[in-house]
Symmetry: C2
DNA sequence: TTACGTGCAAATTTTTTGCATGCAC
DNA sequence: GTGCATGCAAAAAATTTGCACGTAA
């Protein structure tokens, strides 16, 4: 996918790009540019912020990565593949994250996209709530 | 909700806050600070950016508004109530946002939450893709 | 050789914050 | 009167971009 895109666009395969892409594939699921840069620099101290920035932009454009932001003021990137088949249940109290798969939702998404004429690329589906543990912790009291 | 929160926290009800909140309630569903400020200034030219910024932060804290970002580099705000029943289709090329409702998804969400013992509070569901217009725009020409 | 890619630093853009003054309570 | 709120402008953050030099093709 990336390969084809690069060929089509006449883009070059440089050491930096190879390193950044490889690092990104092995990194945590939601890295920021800064985080990724730090990891990249463990292998090659000379790589610049702008190169990581531009490479991730490239990955996002060709559909290999998705840009996301979680309200912490940073843009984060995730592998599109990984994202494709899991969604998240997030506890609003302890921030625990549980992944779930729900094929029926996937299918519904396709249907909605089709209804609006969209060519679906990716999705984000997050359910926020209180996990069982935190519910137990609260007992009868209600937070607000 | 806002009222209670403000009382509890000892916050004051000022003309600016009243105006900003009122404007926010009547505004488009995903306003940025800038957009909201412009509208607020139609009523009162002296209101500052920082006040709008701080007021929306306040609304977000007490649960009346949700902060969201759609990858266009701006933080946007939406009414929490409104958010409860619609989701978004977002064009990755022109950043256009279409709202949709899909009761079946809502129901599935409930089911998933129940399956994991979560007490559902809210959710985010965004489908990213290419809108019809941008597909057409690419038409015969190379999609790049 | 040609023109894309890189690194650096500067420029932009957006969000936050400090402070003197105003005003709700 | 007290202390939160406001407006302005400055500061921080984060993202983009210009440019001279390096290098894949």
């Amino acid at each position: 996918m990336l390969r084809a895109y690069m060929d089509r666009k006449g883009l070059r395969s440089t050491d930096q790009r190879k390193l950044i892409v490889e690092t990104f594939f092995c990194a945590d699921n939601h890295v920021s540019i800064e985080e990724l840069l730090a990891q990249v620099r463990e292998s090659d101290r000379r790589v610049g912020y702008a190169t990581v920035y531009r490479t991730l932009k490239l990955l996002a454009e060709c559909g290999v990565a998705n840009e996301r932001s979680f309200g912490d003021g940073l843009t984060r990137y995730e592998l599109a593949d990984e994202a494709a088949h899991h969604d998240h249940l997030i506890c609003v109290e302890c921030a625990d994250i549980v992944e779930f798969e729900e094929p029926a939702v996937e299918e519904l998404q396709e249907r909605v996209a089709r209804r609006y004429g969209f060519e679906l690329r990716s999705h984000k589906h997050e359910l926020y709530g209180v996990c069982p543990r935190c519910q137990a912790k609260r007992g009868g009291a209600n937070g607000n």
